[in-house]
């Protein structure tokens, strides 16, 4: 009977632990949303931020976050696509491949603050680009590359070899087989990975503090010429993102409503991440159904 009792106690403890983890998440989400959502209004989402007075919004920061995310994806997707294709299709089994894999693993485990400092050193200081959206996007690319590469490699690998053999047997080149047959079939997995990665990039701050900068310059939403310094599209302007904004007002903010602004911003950030998470699953499932004709 003793072992039975032990068994029951242990299983109950395991259940309690799992329940606690669920409670922690529920508490986190509840806390952020309850304290933050009341501050969200159209004014909050669109107005420029204030440094010394209350009533500031997060309009510029929100735009910067989205713009930076798009730029990062534009830079990092092609590179990681090429790298993923190499690892799953071309990589020979030798020392070089092993080194490459290790390099990617190391890159993915580097602290993001170190990646940001490297971006600071190389782009902001050495290349004299200053705190700019472009430096930030490249730093985020370094941060995003290993995850995206691994995701693309795994998605490509999960396509059965039969497809590759069929393509080659039809006289297609290996490259055409990969791009026209394997890649479309792996697409749902890849898209899911890209969207999940986008959520991570959207919330990243440590890599951006010293690359994209901590100041949101006034931008003029009527001017879309990318070479004008007040244009929202300008690549060389400093751009504080939403995540950096939260960090900054919490460590050195002096506006009277700092707590409210950071609660509201956190809620916006969380809602964005939730949207990314759910849409990743939704898009992945839908694409899979469309491309494979399964229900």
């Amino acid at each position: 009977m003793k072992t039975k009792l032990q068994n029951n106690i242990a299983i109950t403890v395991i259940r309690i632990i799992a329940a606690l983890v669920v409670l922690i998440l529920a508490f986190l989400l509840g806390d952020i949303l309850i304290s933050g959502v009341p501050h969200i209004s159209w004014h909050f989402l669109t107005a420029p931020s204030q440094s010394f007075t209350s009533g500031g919004g997060i309009g510029v920061q929100l735009f910067n976050s989205i713009y930076l995310l798009i730029l990062t994806l534009i830079i990092s997707f092609p590179i990681s696509l090429g790298a993923g294709i190499f690892l799953s299709e071309y990589a020979p089994k030798n020392f070089f491949t092993a080194t490459v894999r290790m390099a990617i693993e190391v890159l993915s485990s580097l602290p993001s603050v170190v990646v940001g400092l490297f971006g600071f050193l190389l782009f902001v200081v050495q290349m004299d680009m200053g705190f700019s959206i472009l430096s930030g996007a490249i730093a985020l690319t370094f941060f995003n590359l290993p995850l995206l590469t691994r995701n693309i490699e795994e998605s490509l690998r999960s396509v059965p070899d039969l497809q590759r053999e069929a393509g080659l047997a039809l006289g297609l080149s290996k490259w055409k087989t990969v791009t026209k047959i394997i890649l479309p079939e792996a697409l749902p997995g890849i898209i899911t990975g890209v969207v999940l990665g986008a959520g991570r990039v959207f919330g990243e701050a440590a890599a951006l503090i010293y690359t994209a900068g901590q100041s949101a310059t006034n931008i003029n939403f009527g001017n879309w010429n990318p070479f004008n310094s007040t244009s929202p599209l300008n690549l060389m302007r400093p751009a504080e993102t939403l995540a950096v904004h939260i960090w900054k007002i919490n460590s050195e903010g002096v506006m009277p409503d700092a707590a409210a602004v950071s609660a509201g911003s956190s809620a916006v950030l969380i809602i964005a991440v939730l949207i990314f998470n759910f849409s990743a699953r939704l898009i992945g499932n839908r694409l899979y159904r469309k491309l494979t004709a399964t229900k």
Partner: protein, 305 residues
């Protein structure tokens, strides 16, 4: 010229396509390797300058307890003792992992052994969402919930290693859990079936068979969690109090390698001793992440035998 001979001997359209494809994918991978190498080269060259250009001694840096790069001691050497930060970093990391490991293993066991399909799916989403929450949001919650909680229930100002560890606990929990789940799933099915067939209870099977054969995987998961905790910057920086002095306990303000870096780089001038010393801290972070990687590889190799 014979047209047929010509056609056979020249490279075909397909071969040319393949060459282009190879060049493209090789250059992408080369780019990634170059990025990794240059990160190491740049940070190392900056970080070593403290010791080569500014002539600071490595042992003073590692074991000195006085961090004040602007001031110099009687011999004229800058005060660059990084031990307070090193202690802080290891303190929060180890404490966070001690908190997180039982929770992670328990949750992983629930997901693989106890839960129904529905419960497993729920926990899976919970873990994914926990990963997705940005670190500044964790920091903000730390500031608005954990710090007051620690202040009221444990005393002190609330800023300190304990608060940092609480925040990191939640941050590393999903990493450790999902990797533990993977390693528990990798245990061959027949191990479990054999144990159950011998009349062992579920708990005996978990304790005597599953956990033992998944040990190396679980250790890897914990090391990965440590690596993540060690490198986390903003969330810790917001709650730890940022005092570059030897921590006097878990409740006193302290600092970590990452927190000093994030606060300091913007306030020092490139090329000065203070700035170089910060780069030495960055180099330490880099080396630590490399060491964590090597440990993981080592455990993996041992586990396979």
């Amino acid at each position: 010229m014979d047209p047929i001979k010509n056609k056979i001997q020249s490279t075909s359209k397909e071969t040319r396509q393949d060459i282009i494809g190879k060049i493209l994918s090789y250059s992408c991978i080369a780019l990634i390797v170059i990025v990794v190498l240059s990160i190491f080269a740049f940070v190392a060259s900056k970080g070593l300058a403290t010791f080569i250009v500014n002539k600071a001694s490595i042992s003073d840096f590692l074991f000195g307890t006085n961090w004040n790069p602007i001031a110099t001691d009687k011999a004229g050497n800058p005060l660059l003792g990084a031990l307070p930060m090193i202690t802080g970093s290891f303190g929060v990391t180890i404490l966070a992992v001690i908190f997180a490991a039982p929770f992670a293993i328990g949750t992983a066991l629930y997901m693989t052994e106890v839960a129904s399909k529905k419960g497993e799916k729920l926990l899976q989403s919970v873990i994914e969402l926990l990963v997705g929450i940005p670190s500044v949001v964790y920091g903000f919650i730390g500031l608005s919930v954990v710090v007051p909680f620690v202040r009221i229930h444990f005393g002190g100002s609330g800023y300190g290693i304990l608060s940092g560890a609480f925040v990191l606990f939640v941050m590393v929990l999903p990493t450790v859990t999902s990797m533990t789940v993977d390693s528990l799933r990798a245990v061959p099915r027949y191990y479990k079936e054999a144990s159950l067939a011998l009349g062992a209870t579920k708990w005996q099977t978990i304790y005597k068979v599953l956990l033992r054969s998944a040990t190396s995987g679980i250790l890897t998961a914990i090391i990965f969690g440590m690596a993540r905790a060690f490198g986390e910057a903003l969330a810790v920086q917001m709650v730890i109090g940022n005092a570059a002095i030897m921590p006097k306990g878990l409740l006193a303000p302290a600092s970590t390698l990452t927190s000093v870096l994030t606060m300091g780089i913007g306030n020092t001038v490139m090329g000065t001793v203070g700035n170089n010393a910060l780069w030495s801290l960055a180099l330490m972070l880099l080396l630590m992440s490399l060491i964590f990687n090597i440990i993981v590889r080592f455990i993996g190799r041992k586990g396979r035998m």
